[in-house]
């Protein structure tokens, strides 16, 4: 294509999934055998950047020995009137995608973990210089992210230089992460809405705030911000969050307005930090479900990857079915794993103090974000497989929900009894022993009776009381 006329190999999204095996590789850059490697995006001022400049510090690809691995640092420095440091992470992650579009180049991982291979065939075709890779990055960044006005790209392979810059890169990632984690919903004016899933679930819209990741786990507030500024008419758009109506539940005037508009009025109120009353809706690709367990007045969490039954006896497939399709269902809540790491996670409902069960694998992933006082009090499938064993476990560990139990438990038990009695109701149709009538004082005798019905329909009678 003419856009990449001067590049010796093809460039296109179809090369994205390309894998280059060791025996087919010309050289490896970064990767597990190199301790120091990194890629870093930095936002600079317009005067600091020379647009289009590509610099190579150290040996170029053509100078490298076939079959060997080399350290690598990639520095992408950008400038633009509307760019700020908050967008560095988003820009940096594009390096991975764009580099993979190059035929015969494999780019894995990100940040201090990058692993790049250049294939033999690509090298033979002439992909022998970082200049080419730089040009591809330059063109794609400029054409895809119009907010970037100037960009310069540096490839560093000189081991001493990589070693020297490496600690600084680590420091930058840490600063960026701390800033991201510390960012609070109240501190920003804009949230972001995502309607990508409306292509399959037309009545769902995701509200993405700094402290509430998209349900699918794929789009952070920063991603949303970048998408919206690059393509303001696109499926990810800014929401002026407006006035805070309820800090505890997470209700904002602007969010309500936008959700109402985008769902054509199906949903007119969203509370961001709770699974009750007006929970955030979901499409179908949420990573996990938070489900209320009335018997213990707490929440279970179950992830898509969990194969067994959750503690309430239902598998993910059934629980997920209770919340998909853009509906607001009390006590069932589609969420991302990342949201579990947020301080606002189910905040209005008690946060982690209200969580009683989750799969071990998920617990391991989010452990560092669960308050220390409660982390060991939350059961996994190893501690509890059903509600009874869960109750025992929670009592034993004195989980915060236990304190609230006493009166409520009695009530719940009573309801359960009512339920089971009524469930039995439709059965008499089939059973002759209960046919004789309940009326007091009379004795009814059926002799040579024949009762015919063309059709008998059995329906479940809903117990209004248990619905709450």
């Amino acid at each position: 294509m003419s856009m990449f006329k001067d590049i010796p190999v093809e460039v296109g999204v179809i090369y994205e999934g390309e894998r280059i095996r060791r025996k087919n590789m010309h050289v490896e850059l970064g990767g597990p055998s190199m301790k120091e490697k990194f890629e870093l995006a930095k936002v600079k001022s317009l005067t600091e950047i020379e647009d289009g400049k590509i610099t190579i510090i150290g040996s170029d690809i053509k100078d490298m020995v076939e079959g060997k691995a080399y350290p690598l640092g990639i520095l992408v420095e950008v400038a633009g009137a509307t760019l700020d440091q908050q967008l560095e992470g988003v820009i940096e992650r594009r390096i991975h995608g764009y580099m993979n579009y190059i035929e015969g180049l494999m780019h894995l991982n990100q940040r201090y973990d990058i692993w790049i291979r250049i294939g033999k065939k690509a090298f033979q075709k002439g992909l022998n210089s970082f200049q080419y890779i730089g040009k591809v990055l330059y063109k794609l960044f400029k054409s895809e992210l119009s907010i970037i006005e100037k960009i310069q790209i540096t490839f560093i392979t000189d081991p001493a230089k990589v070693q020297g810059l490496y600690p600084q890169a680590l420091q930058d990632y840490e600063t960026r992460d701390a800033r991201a984690r510390g960012l609070k919903d109240e501190e920003v004016d804009k949230f972001y809405g995502c309607m990508l899933c409306q292509s399959f679930a037309p009545s769902h819209v995701c509200v993405i705030s700094p402290q509430r990741y998209s349900n699918c786990g794929a789009i952070s507030w920063f991603d949303g911000r970048a998408s919206a500024s690059i393509d303001p008419k696109g499926p990810v758009f800014a929401i002026e969050r407006g006035e805070l109506i309820n800090a505890e539940k997470g209700e904002y005037v602007g969010v309500n307005e936008v959700v109402k508009k985008k769902t054509l009025g199906d949903v007119d109120r969203v509370w961001l930090y709770t699974a009750f009353d007006h929970p955030h809706t979901s499409c179908g690709c949420f990573e996990a479900v938070a489900f209320y367990v009335p018997e213990v007045d707490g929440f279970g969490l179950v992830s898509r990857s969990f194969k067994g039954k959750a503690v309430n006896g239902l598998p993910f497939s059934t629980l997920a079915d209770s919340t998909a399709g853009g509906r607001q269902i009390d006590g069932f809540h589609g969420i991302s794993i990342e949201y579990m790491r947020s301080p606002k996670f189910l905040d209005a409902d008690g946060g982690w103090n209200r969580v009683v069960w989750l799969p071990k694998e998920v617990k391991e992933r989010v452990k560092d974000f669960i308050p220390k006082e409660v982390v060991d009090k939350i059961a996994t499938e190893e501690n509890a497989q059903d509600v009874d064993s869960l109750k025992t476990f929670l009592k034993e560990k004195n989980h915060p929900v236990v304190a609230k139990w006493k009166e409520e438990i009695a009530e719940v038990e009573q309801e359960t009894m009512v339920e089971s009695a009524e469930q039995g109701l439709p059965m008499p149709v089939m059973s002759a022993s209960t046919l004789p009538i309940m009326a007091g004082g009379f004795k009814i005798i059926l002799k040579d009776a024949k009762i015919y019905a063309n059709k008998v329909i059995i329906k479940t009678i809903k117990d209004e009381k248990t619905k709450k």
Partner: protein
């Protein structure tokens, strides 16, 4: 839990409350309606219930007829010449007659699957009881029977519940078949609509069959890691007696395997299968083997590999018994639908039948009791194997040369060959003593044997070809993955986000028979190409076998190389013909899972959803039977386009959209009610392609849907453009029809494409929430 005819009879009963004598309580039908989902608008649709929907599709994709025959010969008024606008004695036009034959084919196909399922359900109920619970995927599947729910409004829980579903299907097939009678419909679109209807019924029939067998026979249950199974005659231990089953209905084969297990013989014999029965043998038993697809029946029988041939139903060569007789392999016909002229010995003692078959007193028998089939087949195989000593009817090499010398060079063999193979050349070379050219035919031959039938000097040409390739044949060792059954709900959730974001550009279902040249290399190449492009590739039936018949440089088949998960780059075999229902089922579940659209009796809405959103394409490379026609028709009604290979023109018609007519491509935007032009997406509903290259370009293009996000569309277009460039050397001419906003343009081609768009006077448009149904336009709530 619907049950019919519940009767309670009480002779005498005394309780505190009353006294009962001779009470009879009879309930015609007991219906469990505890399913909370309300009934949709069209449970158990009749012939015309969904006609409006069909006409919407048929007006977009107008049938284009290619009559295989100029005449109608169906009644005794005729034959009637229907060419050049003439009407027949009944008044019928050529278009109506062509569509009538399509409907007839679909009725035959649907009847075949449904009757197969009826036989199985009946047998399994007898064996396991009607209350045996259905379980096709344990905890990972909530929607156990998406097609049955969608079409019938029934949520089956037990084997017995399937009865009512089959009652409905049988009823509809009878109704539709009646339409083919002289003097019923006269309009071709009405015939077509009915063909769609029967196609839908066919999917119901298939689903019932597969969920019944998966639930009872302990098959892999929606298992992405269903075991890799051996395939090819080279995998068979020929020191053991070999029983070969051919057909589609696994019940007799289960009888054989159970008998072996019960008598500790399971490592003493080989049980191998051809065609779909092979799939189901390996789903039932890990030591079962697939030896090949449908088209290889002659080579395996003539090669003398089988000691006993068991025939069940469907796609069995009708001369299989004659061929088996030639290699002295006794035949057991085991299906009421395929008796082969044999005497019914179902009620005879097994000892007598075994003796008659071993002694050669009779070449074959009909046994309609699967357990008895099991006993007889195993005992006969054990006794006859040492006597037969792999007797075959392949000529020796010197005989091949001698036979070739009798050739009169009339070229009739090539003329009668459906593949137009250069048989005369190969025979000529054989005359000179070289079998090389015969050997080259082996991979291209589809095994029909027509060359032999036409040969005026009776040269057994097919046997000559087999002989020339004997070494390849006996060394055929490759892998298939046992049919996994349904797609898990959780797998569908997992692919939700990547499909929305375009990381998975589409779903390709490679189905049908393998009657095509090169033994399916084309199929394997297409599967690999699209798995590498991170499509989800689903296979079934004989196509699933041929997909596994080729190895890469590292000796891996596609099933070794790619995962069996319903995920980007997965290649999954759902199973036998009846398992095709899981492919349609997965599309249906997408609507249920992501949009929470109710399925129950809600066909039109779900088909509209799938048509406008789910980028799936079916590919049947080797045309074959009427069943394939019915399966395709079921996909059309759901709005899933189907491509057929070079033989597909013999289906007599295509359903082609007109990309040049802009007005054909309006949809409603459900958000606003506005009409939005979405371009030809997908362009055709049923189409023949001539080469695998053409197929690949169209597969990429037919995955385009009106709802695509810009990201998804840009990736779909990348694949379309890339394949078009690779095979035709150009950027596709119709690109401007598929670009809605600049963001749709693949980012690495922006400059060039913007230039093209300018030249085509392209205008930006919006991405709607697409529907063809005005009733789906959402009303704003206040």
């Amino acid at each position: 839990m619907t049950r019919k005819n519940v009767r309670v009879k009480i002779g005498e009963m005394k309780t505190n409350a009353g006294f009962i004598k001779n009470l009879e309580l009879s309930v015609g039908k007991l219906v469990d309606d505890s399913w909370e989902e309300p009934m949709g608008p069209t449970p158990k649709p009749g012939l015309t219930t969904l006609r409006n929907w069909d006409l919407k599709l048929l007006n977009r994709y107008k049938p284009f007829y290619m009559p295989a025959c100029d005449l109608c010969c169906l009644c005794t008024f005729g034959k009637c010449d229907l060419t050049a606008g003439k009407r027949g004695a009944c008044g019928l036009t050529m278009a109506a007659q062509s569509s009538r034959i399509v409907l007839l084919a679909c009725c035959i196909g649907a009847a075949t699957h449904t009757a197969h399922s009826r036989h199985m359900v009946h047998h399994l109920i007898e064996k396991y009881g009607s209350r045996y619970p259905l379980d096709i995927g344990g905890l990972n599947i909530k929607v156990e029977a998406p097609i049955t729910r969608l079409v019938c409004g029934i949520r089956p829980k037990t084997l017995g519940d399937l009865d009512e579903v089959l009652d409905y299907a049988e009823n509809q097939i009878t109704q539709a078949l009646a339409v083919v009678h002289t003097g019923q419909e006269g309009n071709n679109l009405d015939f077509e609509s009915k063909a769609f209807h029967v196609g839908m019924i066919d999917h119901v029939g298939m689903e019932v069959g597969d969920i019944a067998q998966v639930s009872t026979l302990d098959y892999p249950r929606a298992d992405p890691e269903a075991p890799i199974v051996e395939m090819g005659i080279g995998t068979v231990d020929r020191s053991k007696p070999v029983i070969m089953a051919i057909g589609h209905n696994v019940v007799p084969s289960v009888g054989i395997i159970d008998y072996m297990k019960d008598n500790s013989l399971d490592d003493k014999l080989e049980v191998v299968g051809l065609c779909c029965t092979a799939h189901d043998i390996t789903r039932y038993w890990d030591r079962g083997k697939i030896i090949g697809p449908i088209s290889w029946q002659l080579r395996f029988i003539r090669g003398g590999f089988a000691d006993v041939v068991v025939l069940d139903e469907q796609c069995v060569r009708t001369d299989a018994s004659n061929e088996a007789e030639r290699v002295k392999a006794p035949v057991i016909a085991a299906s009421a639908k395929n008796c082969m002229g044999f005497k019914d010995r179902t009620n005879d003692p097994a000892d007598d039948i075994v003796a008659d078959l071993v002694s050669g007193k009779v070449p074959g028998v009909l046994i309609l009791d699967p357990d008895k089939v099991g006993e007889v087949a195993v005992r006969v195989a054990q006794k006859i194997a040492p006597l037969r000593k792999r007797f075959n009817v392949l000529p020796e090499v010197n005989e091949v040369v001698e036979l070739a010398k009798t050739c009169r060079h009339c070229n009739m063999c090539q003329r009668s060959c459906p593949q137009d193979l250069k048989v005369p050349e190969a025979i000529e070379a054989a005359e000179e003593g070289s079998l090389k050219k015969l050997n080259e035919l082996y991979e291209f031959c589809i095994g029909c044997g027509r060359c032999e039938q036409i040969c005026p000097v009776n040269i057994p040409i097919h046997s000559l070809i087999i002989k020339s390739a004997e070494k390849q044949l006996t060394q055929e060792i490759c892998n298939c993955r046992a049919g996994r059954g349904a797609i898990q709900d959780v797998e569908i959730r997992n692919v939700g986000s990547p499909i929305v974001l375009g990381e998975i550009p589409g779903i390709l279902a490679v189905v049908g028979c393998s009657n095509y040249p090169k033994g399916g290399k084309d199929v394997a190449d297409i599967c690999r190409e699209f798995a590498n492009r991170r499509f989800i590739v689903v296979t079934s039936g004989c196509a699933a076998m041929t997909a596994g018949a080729y190895k890469n440089e590292e000796g891996q088949t596609l099933y070794d190389e790619f995962s069996g998960e319903f995920a980007a780059g997965g290649i999954l075999n759902v199973g036998s013909c009846v398992a095709n229902s899981h492919i349609a089922g997965a599309a249906i579940k997408v609507a249920n899972i992501f949009a929470k659209r109710p399925l129950r009796g809600n066909y039109e809405e779900i088909a509209d959803y799938i048509y406008n959103r789910v980028g799936a394409v079916g590919l049947a490379w080797g045309a074959y039977s009427q069943k394939a026609a019915a399966i395709a028709a079921g996909f059309w009604r759901l709005g899933v386009p189907v491509l057929v290979g070079p033989h597909g023109s013999k289906y007599r018609r295509m359903l082609l959209g007109r990309a040049d007519k802009k007005e054909d491509w309006d949809v409603y935007d459900a958000r606003s009610g506005d009409k939005v032009n979405v371009g030809p997406a997908p362009e055709h509903l049923f189409q023949t392609v001539e080469t695998k290259e053409e197929a690949m370009v169209f597969i990429a293009k037919l995955c385009i849907r009106p709802n695509d996000t810009w990201k998804g569309r840009s990736i779909k277009l990348s694949h379309y453009i890339d394949l078009n460039k690779r095979f035709y050397g150009t950027i596709p001419e119709d690109l401007h029809l598929f670009v809605r906003t600049p963001a749709d343009i693949p980012m690495t081609m922006k400059d060039d494409i913007l230039k093209i768009l300018k030249g085509k006077n392209w205008k930006e448009t919006i991405i709607p929430d697409p529907t063809l149904l005005p009733r789906m336009i959402r009303k704003k709530r206040k």
